[in-house]
């Protein structure tokens, strides 16, 4: 081993209790950071997936302005042929056309205002998870059947079951009175209260008849193979549509601005907390290294008098800090990984969490997502701040005067 390295290593263990306490501060923060960051990214991923898989998809083709107003007359004309064309041109099956209208649903006993989607039964299951969440009965099958699927809470509130009739009242595209009697084919349970209480789906063909849509709809939903490829797909679709001003393609972050912003808001408060933790560790290191430099003033004076340059002493102090920081980084990452792995297997939950995260379409138990980034991002920042904290003690050495230093005790 190199002499300087050996010197630094020995200096480090001069006060082993002090060194271990400083490393302890690093390990504590690192463990917490690894766990929190993994948990956070696990939650964000779920939040995006769960929200997008319900209705919005990765992008939608709509009439301009529809996203904000959802007005009946902001239509996509000939929506089914458009969806079919996109499917063949993009060679993708995860594309489906929809219509949306507001209506009053009346059973024998009750009436509620609900949002009604007209969907393509064959393709809807490829862009939305609702068809897979049917709890009773079955999902829609024929494009022109007079049937409907509704959420569990709506079914309970309307006091109806599979096979019962439901009257739908609303207004058609031209403003005329729209009415239909449909049979409940199935009941879905998405677990999201708002959706289970307020949403129904009927076949697009039936929807277009009932609401006098004349072949039009309100959206074409597209799902990319995964979120990372969504942007490329969106650009492609946008170029395909560029000839047509009456249509725009909206990305998921525009369709669901809440999700992205909730993540941003949560991230900024989380990063504030992480920042504080890191600063506190840095203070700990600063204190330790300052002490270790001050108590060696006498010794440093001697070696300087023997001809050692202050720059080399400064590098020695930095080397000591690097060693200490590295031990902290390693132990912290290991402890963090073990801690996090336990939760990736068993999931993480606390009392009241289910109620809270349901707002973000999350289940009551979340699993942290451990990746190389989440494992090392936190510890690396702590490591760098550790080094930064040692700069001041190291620089102090430059002002050291050998003779004076030797006199101090």
């Amino acid at each position: 081993m190199n002499v300087v390295l050996r010197l630094a290593w020995r200096n480090l263990w001069r006060h082993s209790r002090r060194t271990w306490l400083t490393i302890g501060a690093m390990v504590f923060s690192n463990t917490l950071l690894v766990f929190m960051i993994s948990l956070q990214f696990g939650m964000y991923g779920l939040m995006i997936d769960n929200t997008l898989q319900v209705f919005s998809g990765h992008m939608q083709i709509q009439a301009p302005g529809y996203k904000d107003d959802q007005k009946m007359r902001q239509v996509v004309p000939d929506v089914q042929p458009l969806a079919a064309r996109l499917r063949s041109e993009l060679d993708s099956e995860t594309i489906a056309a929809r219509g949306w209208a507001f209506g009053l649903a009346s059973s024998e006993e009750r009436s509620y205002g609900i949002g009604i989607y007209g969907v393509e039964p064959t393709f809807e299951s490829r862009v939305s998870n609702i068809p897979g969440l049917i709890k009773e009965g079955r999902y829609l099958e024929q494009n022109d059947a007079m049937e409907i699927v509704i959420g569990t809470m709506l079914a309970r509130n309307l006091r109806i079951n599979v096979g019962d009739e439901l009257t739908i009242l609303g207004s058609g595209l031209d403003g005329s009175f729209a009415a239909a009697v449909v049979v409940v084919a199935g009941i879905f349970d998405s677990g999201v209260r708002e959706i289970d209480r307020n949403i129904a789906e009927m076949p697009l063909g039936t929807f277009q008849d009932v609401f006098y849509m004349n072949g039009a709809g309100h959206q074409v939903v597209l799902l990319a193979p995964d979120l990372d490829q969504a942007e490329a797909l969106q650009t492609r679709v946008a170029t395909m549509l560029s000839a047509n001003d009456a249509l725009v393609v909206q990305g998921w972050d525009e369709l669901q601005p809440g999700v992205k912003q909730a993540i941003q808001a949560d991230m900024s408060s989380a990063f504030f907390m992480y920042g504080i933790l890191v600063i506190l560790v840095a203070f700990s290191v600063l204190n330790t290294q300052l002490m270790s430099v001050l108590e060696r003033t006498h010794e440093f004076g001697i070696v300087m008098a023997l001809g050692l340059k202050p720059g080399r002493l400064g590098r020695l102090v930095m080397l000591e800090t690097t060693m200490m920081g590295f031990i902290g980084l390693l132990l912290g990452a290991i402890a963090g990984a073990l801690f996090t792995t336990w939760f990736t297997v068993n999931g993480f939950s606390y009392p009241g969490m289910e109620e809270m995260v349901a707002k973000f379409n999350l289940p009551g138990r979340v699993y942290p997502r451990a990746t190389l980034v989440t494992m090392f991002a936190g510890p690396l920042v702590v490591f760098l701040c550790t080094l930064a904290a040692a700069i001041y003690p190291a620089l102090r050495l430059r002002r050291l005067h050998p003779v004076e230093a030797m006199r101090t005790n």
Partner: protein, 409 residues
């Protein structure tokens, strides 16, 4: 007592013997304390605002309903008491405002669009103590009495419906026999709310007008009570319970809106965890400082012991030193927190993530709330835990063998 003064003076002087170390540690404690209080004030402010906004949708601190209403909010589940009976039961309640309302799901239709809303039939006079909305910031006018024939909509809803003050809309709901109950209303006012969801989902009409339209005589679906403090509704709750029988169910607001109820409980838990995490990060540095402080004066401690000072005095002196360090650091941190929060009390604009905050149920302006109880809790937790953390180094210091300690180099 005199001993305590002597020990304190000794501890204070020791503290400043190595002023660099003390200053670094003080900065760390101050930053930690600042972060604890600052973060708590922000979160507390957010949750308070959420609850205030949330209660304005419920509103009231305690409500009575038909026992089935919360599960099935339908016109068929009405409060069993007549107007006269309600007055007889509740008129002797002191410092409590109460209001009876009709709350039903309904559909509002303009020439262009229809949307689902929560229709509220209210007596504006009785509602004055409740804060659904800001009654003074209504475009047009608010309702003038229970017989008012107009309707007040949210500005956002009016936008979607493409209607405005002076125009007519049709409101549809159901009567107890499940016949469609509908009626035309003239829009007399538009209200504005912090949250878009409120503006989209509430519509106000006169209570008696609503009762006539729904054909329910003079019955209502809920009676709401507002007392002194939403944090402590138990006194009000028990007063209301005393005055009713089994025909109705009394609920606290935390039960009507379980999300907000959970949030309030979680807030306190979060705050404690945050304080403890920061303390733990600090504790490594604190113990380190004490260990060093003891180490560098082993000989003096030995001398004092040899001269007859009791080990308990040494223990006391180190602990006093630690408490002084913590108190001064906390004091600086408290002042710092106060100084940074005060200028922000007018509200922090975070509308850049407004949609995200709305997912949490929070508004886009954050009003930090510096709660004295929170500040006390943070300080006390740090002092108490700090006391325990300093026990070990203090104990070690008091256990030295005088002769060994004096001869230690």
């Amino acid at each position: 007592m005199r001993m305590f003064v002597v020990l304190s003076r000794l501890a204070w002087r020791y503290l400043w013997r190595n002023h660099r170390r003390t200053i670094v540690m003080l900065s760390a404690i101050a930053v930690g304390a600042w972060a604890m209080i600052f973060m708590t004030a922000l979160t507390r402010g957010m949750v308070d605002q959420m609850i205030v906004d949330g209660i304005s949708v419920i509103p009231g601190h305690v409500q009575i309903h038909d026992p089935d209403y919360l599960d099935d909010p339908s016109i068929n589940n009405r409060v069993a008491y007549s107007d006269a009976e309600l007055a007889a039961r509740f008129e002797d309640l002191d410092r409590v405002a109460w209001a009876a309302r009709v709350r039903v799901p309904a559909v509002v239709t303009s020439e262009r669009e229809s949307r689902g809303v929560t229709l509220l039939g209210i007596d504006p006079e009785a509602e004055r103590s409740f804060s659904f909305i800001d009654y003074d910031a209504v475009d047009g006018r608010f309702l003038e009495g229970p017989d008012d024939n107009g309707i007040v909509l949210g500005a956002k809803l009016a936008d979607t419906l493409e209607t405005r003050v002076g125009k007519r809309v049709v409101v549809m709901s159901q009567d107890p026999e499940n016949e469609i109950a509908d009626r035309g209303f003239r829009v007399v006012g538009l209200f504005h709310a912090e949250m878009e969801a409120t503006e989209e989902s509430l519509a106000f009409v006169g209570k008696r007008t609503a009762q006539k339209m729904l054909r329910i005589g003079d019955s209502v679906t809920e009676v709401a009570f507002v007392g002194d403090d939403y944090r402590d509704v138990e006194p009000l709750y028990s007063k209301v319970v005393e005055r009713v029988d089994d025909a109705v169910q009394v609920s606290r607001w935390t039960e009507v809106d379980t999300y907000l109820g959970t949030m309030m409980g979680m807030m306190d838990g979060f705050m404690l965890i945050w304080v403890i995490v920061i303390f733990l990060a600090l504790s490594f540095g604190l113990v380190n400082t004490l260990v060093m402080a003891v180490f560098e004066r082993i000989r003096e401690i030995g001398l004092m012991l040899a001269l007859g000072m009791k080990p308990a005095m040494i223990l006391g002196q180190i602990i006093i030193e630690s408490m002084m360090l913590l108190s001064v650091g906390l004091l600086i941190g408290d002042v710092l927190a106060w100084a940074t929060i005060k200028p922000l009390e007018g509200g922090i604009d975070i509308s850049i993530v407004a949609k995200g905050m709305e997912m949490f149920g929070a508004s886009s302006v954050l009003y930090p709330n510096l709660d004295v109880d929170d500040v006390i809790l943070a300080n006390v937790v740090v002092l108490v835990l700090g006391f325990f953390a300093s026990l070990s180094p203090a104990w070690r210091a008091s256990r030295y063998e005088p002769v060994e300690a004096i001869t230690k180099v």
